[in-house]
């Protein structure tokens, strides 16, 4: 048998994606500096760039828009959001 071996890099399994364990801490590291949607328990949304946050989920946002029922109701250059009001933080751009 003198069959040539298959070309090496066709169909070889792709390397596993860069390991990110997906914990909340890892998510937050990845999302700082990115556009996010912060929804409060009241249903009000804040869209802006995530400056930073702390262990209570207190959040600092830049270029913030406040959305109530789909309409912009306010704009803030910077905003501090107290963490107890936060329902979720969602990435609004590719991570």
């Amino acid at each position: 048998m003198d069959e040539s071996p298959p070309p090496p890099d066709v169909q070889s399994p792709p390397p596993p994606p860069p390991s990110h364990t997906g914990s909340p801490t890892d998510f937050l590291k990845g999302v700082v500096g990115k556009k996010v949607i912060v929804r409060l328990n009241s249903g009000v949304d804040y869209r802006g760039i995530l400056s930073c946050l702390d262990g209570y989920m207190n959040i600092a946002l830049e270029q913030t828009e406040e959305h109530v029922e789909g309409k912009i109701t306010n704009r803030y250059g910077d905003a501090f959001i107290r963490g107890n009001n936060v329902l979720y933080i969602s990435a609004a751009e590719e991570l």
């Binding site: 909340p24 801490t25 890892d26 998510f27 937050l28 979720y88 969602s90 990435a91 609004a92 991570l95």
Partner: protein, 84 residues
């Protein structure tokens, strides 16, 4: 001696699968579980949020999302909510 499985060990086995999250209020989420912490704050991917109101259910699609564990009521592993 009952085998001791901690509740969070079960949730740990759900990482990578779909999960249905029911909040204390009339709000639910489904998504792929990427991770969680001791407070059961959860990172989900390909998320749908369901807001259940008397007028009907409002659905919102979300990308990667960190859900605050504070107001979570129940978790249903391997489920895509009532739609499935």
């Amino acid at each position: 001696m009952a085998s001791q499985v901690l509740p969070l060990e079960l949730i740990d086995k759900c990482i990578g699968s779909r999960i249905w999250v029911v909040m204390k209020s009339e709000r639910e989420f489904t998504g792929t579980l990427l991770g969680f912490d001791d407070f059961v704050n959860m990172v989900l991917e390909d998320v749908t949020e369901y807001e259940i109101t008397p007028q009907g259910t409002k659905k919102t699609k979300l990308a990667q999302t960190l859900l605050n564990g504070n107001n979570i009521c129940m978790l249903v592993p391997g489920s895509d909510g009532e739609e499935s």
